[in-house]
């Protein structure tokens, strides 16, 4: 009853639009041709097996997952207190804080990569891995500020007050009342900062060095001389990983509350 015909049409068309290339990629990953082609001529799982022959794609996948995870967690750790202070702390001039916190959005990723290389690695002699985590952190941080901020704004402020009066300190009230009510926003912020850093090529190009591979650059490297369905296959694997992560989140905090 709450949806409407026009909405149904736009929604369905938009979802089809979003799904269309994905289906295409999934189909091509099973093609027998030695380059990506559509429609496919035969059906094979070989390209999935072929991923196993690419050790740096596999190690890249592991490192990418780990580094993106650490960077996103770091973003939440720094972002959530800041957001709380901005929206619930009665601080003045929050617009300026927001401007600063959202500033990474305006930087081209090449510039983030290059400027961090100059600033952290050359000037401050920070290790490559730490700098990479910083770069990924910058890619995810605006998500934390925005999504968690929106979640907080939506929460009835009287609720927290009721907790204080019940004898809950501000800190405890934060964990017992605020956090459970914004956990879906936090989950969303985590997912998006994770994805955004996980996929970044330009930042990774500058901030990776001898000793470790990252998945996006491995894929890029692979494609320089190969254009076979392996890259479709790895994309499909990534979709499966997403599904898995979402199922985990669903299990622990209920996906229906996600983005709610």
């Amino acid at each position: 009853m709450h949806s409407h015909k026009v909405l149904n049409v736009i929604g369905t068309v938009a979802i089809l639009f979003l799904v269309f290339p994905l289906i295409f990629i999934i189909i091509t990953s099973f093609g027998t041709g030695s380059t990506i082609e559509f429609p496919i001529k035969g059906f094979t799982f070989n390209w999935y097996l072929h991923i196993l022959d690419q050790p740096d794609m596999i190690s890249g996948l592991e490192t990418s997952l780990l580094v993106s995870f650490i960077a996103s967690a770091f973003g939440l750790l720094i972002g959530i207190p800041a957001v709380y202070a901005m929206f619930r702390g009665g601080i003045h001039h929050t617009a300026w804080f927001q401007m600063l916190f959202l500033s990474p959005t305006f930087l081209p990723e090449v510039v983030i990569g290059f400027s961090l290389y100059q600033g952290l690695i050359i000037t401050l002699h920070w290790p490559m891995m730490i700098s990479l985590i910083v770069g990924y952190f910058l890619l995810g941080f605006p998500f934390v500020i925005r999504l968690v901020g929106a979640g907080l704004n939506m929460m009835d402020p009287h609720m927290e007050e009721a907790a204080w009066i019940s004898g809950c300190s501000r800190l405890k009230g934060f964990f017992k009342i605020v956090l459970p009510n914004i956990k879906s926003s936090i989950a969303a912020a985590f997912i998006f900062s994770f994805i955004n850093s996980f996929n970044s090529i330009p930042v990774t190009l500058f901030l990776s060095g001898p000793g470790f591979n990252m998945l996006p650059t491995s894929i890029l490297n692979y494609m320089q001389e190969n254009y076979d369905p392996t890259i479709s296959a790895i994309s499909v694997i990534l979709m499966l990983i997403t599904t898995l992560i979402m199922m985990l989140i669903n299990h622990f905090m209920g996906l229906n509350r996600l983005l709610k």
Partner: protein
Amino acid sequence: MKKRMILLTFPGILALLLFVVFPMVQIIIPTLSGQGSFGSLYLNFLKDTYNQRIILRTLWISLLTTIIVLIIGVPLSLWIARMHHRIKKILILVILFPMLTNQIVLNFAWIILLGKNGIINHVLLSIHLISRPLSLLYNNTSIVIGSVYLFIPIMVVSLLGSLSHLNIEVEEAATVLGAHPSTTFFKIILPQISTDILTGVIWVFSWTMTSYTTPQLLGGNDDLVMSTLIYQQAMTVQNWTLASVISIVLIIISVGCILIIRSLIKLLDRRVAHA
């Protein structure tokens, strides 16, 4: 209380000063004094009519993308927000997939789909909607299609939370008062999420401005944009100073545009509020 609260922002402020402001200052400094007088690099860049065209093209593509994303993204978010839990779960997943799929792979998918012999032309031809294949690829159209595809999820994400939190009774009140669902949408729902729309717009606009992969792969020869220009200067010519100059120009332009959009929305908002 307020004083202690402000402490909570310090880690964030520190991080951004160290990771954004400090490195940016480092790359800006050489651009100011580079050969010749103060700021001459910027002037030279901006004076060139070819560069001006690139700037305009970049702006045009970003603006168009943002508008289309807005037109599709807002109803889509509302549609998803009002879905039953179970369907909503699946839809959120579908929204996430494009984001997690490698951008290069996605763009190649678009190349194949949009090509002269691609599926889209094929379908359009077979239903006789067109008589000759459309040239959808390697022009502004394909860049916009590719960007819209990438950024719809971003818009949905920035809206979905607030939309799910909207008090349904407020809309019901409007409906009972005789507002057609479309009126309710424009006069009641949109104004309540205007700040979230603004964020979505900021994100989509600035990311289209700065994104590199899509214009590089889907654009034609005459579709150079600022980010591809930055890449060219930085990676091929190794001219980091000029690349920095272009980046700074790009950043200033996108921040400027965002400020304009922001004040426009505010203006609109006030008119809605006091109408």
